[in-house]
């Protein structure tokens, strides 16, 4: 499969992260093809911000993203399920502390 894609000389795939005007962090918006980082940012601008979705763009080549294996999820995430003491829900937060 990968070989077939390469043989068609397709441009590399990029993952796009957009920060909205009111947002604090960049959120994954989708992916697209581009020949270089500059073009990836411009393509992202045209594909993902033309309806005023964002004010900042990050792109990263998809091949540089390493993901956890969904098959490992029970050993990776289930052990956290009964550790309620890890949540700071027992503290009273002062009003001055924002974004918690």
């Amino acid at each position: 499969m990968e070989k077939e894609i390469n043989s068609k000389n397709e441009w590399p795939l990029w993952e796009v992260f957009i920060r909205s005007k009111a947002g604090l962090d960049h959120k994954h918006a989708g992916s697209l093809h581009a020949s270089d980082a500059e073009m990836a940012i411009e393509n992202a601008r045209d594909v993902y911000t033309r309806r005023m979705e964002g004010v900042s763009i990050w792109v990263v080549e998809s091949k540089n993203i390493h993901a956890s294996d969904p098959g490992d999820s029970s050993s990776m995430y289930d052990p956290a399920a009964d550790k309620i003491y890890r949540h700071p829900t027992f503290y009273n937060l002062p009003d001055e502390v924002k974004y918690m």
Binding site: L32, H33, D36, E42, N43, D46, R50
Partner: protein
């Protein structure tokens, strides 16, 4: 009501000149917008298809604002000036009926000789390199001239230019990078980019032709020539593209003398309104 055309007041002549210049800016925008829209659904890759369509709509949006203003200027002309302004028969019929004209009439009812766009912009897409070269020459010109027009004594033109400058800045960034990408790319992309630049070069002189009305709006063609050349030279040197050697420039668009391509564009653009006058959808 003027009884003698030879004694038209200076202000009426100035209004006509400003109308012509507004139409020139509008026609540039409509024709390049239409050319770029021809790529819709045919772009080399989905992302560039969207990019070009966005850009085409920027140009079309500017064309609308300018046509609206042009119609306003036209409707305020003395009736004698109105009757003599356009030579296209459908326009003359509309004007003879005594009705005001609108933006759509200007786009749909004028024949080629009443269009004032630069010849460069009606040249066919041909291939991606031609499309890029055409846009690059025009975007560099727009970027510089909208900067000047933002200070035009005509408040409407100044406002349209200020909004368009942001768009033109991005258009120039986009087309400039493509010139570099193709020029400094593969052997074939380089060859095509060089050919497109060489072939279209003779249409660039018209963009920077010194014009009185343009100057009154803040755009001095001869003063913009060097900054425009600086942009072109810098990008070409990065793109490994040789400056075209030709010095002969083809002009005529500003006077309604066009290449054969404009007629085909207008046939496609205007057919529905000519066959079914006033139709809406």
């Amino acid at each position: 009501m003027q009884s003698n055309t030879n004694t038209a007041s200076p202000s009426a002549a100035a209004a006509e000149a400003q109308l012509k210049y507004t139409l020139q800016l509008a026609d540039d925008a409509l024709i390049i917008g239409h050319r770029l829209s021809e790529w819709c659904g045919h772009g080399p890759i989905l992302e560039q298809d969207i990019a070009l369509t966005n850009t085409a709509l920027d140009h079309l949006g500017r064309a609308r604002s300018l046509y609206q203003y042009a119609a306003e200027l036209f409707n305020k002309l003395p009736s004698e000036a109105k009757n003599n302004f356009f030579t296209s028969i459908p326009m003359q019929q509309l004007i003879a009926s005594g009705n005001n004209i609108g933006e759509d009439n200007l786009a749909s009812l004028r024949d080629g000789w009443d269009y004032r766009n630069a010849l460069l912009l009606e040249q066919p897409n041909t291939d991606w390199a031609y499309t890029i070269a055409r846009s690059f020459f025009y975007d560099a010109f727009n970027y510089l001239s909208f900067k000047c027009l933002s200070d035009s004594p005509d408040a409407v033109i100044a406002a349209i230019a200020a909004k368009s400058l942001k768009e033109a800045t991005y258009h120039l960034r986009w087309s400039k990078e493509w010139v570099i990408r193709l020029g400094d790319g593969t052997e074939e992309s380089h060859m095509r980019m060089q050919k497109a630049v060489d072939d279209l070069w003779m249409y660039t002189g018209e963009l920077l032709a010194p014009e009185k009305t343009a100057r009154q709006n803040g755009v001095d063609g001869s003063a913009l020539r060097q900054p425009w050349l600086d942009i072109i030279t810098e990008v070409f040197s990065e793109a490994n593209i040789a400056m075209p050697a030709g010095t002969w420039m083809q002009e005529g668009g500003r006077d309604g003398r066009h290449t054969e391509h404009l007629g085909y564009i207008l046939a496609e653009l205007q057919f529905m309104q000519r066959a079914y006058p006033g139709m809406q959808w």
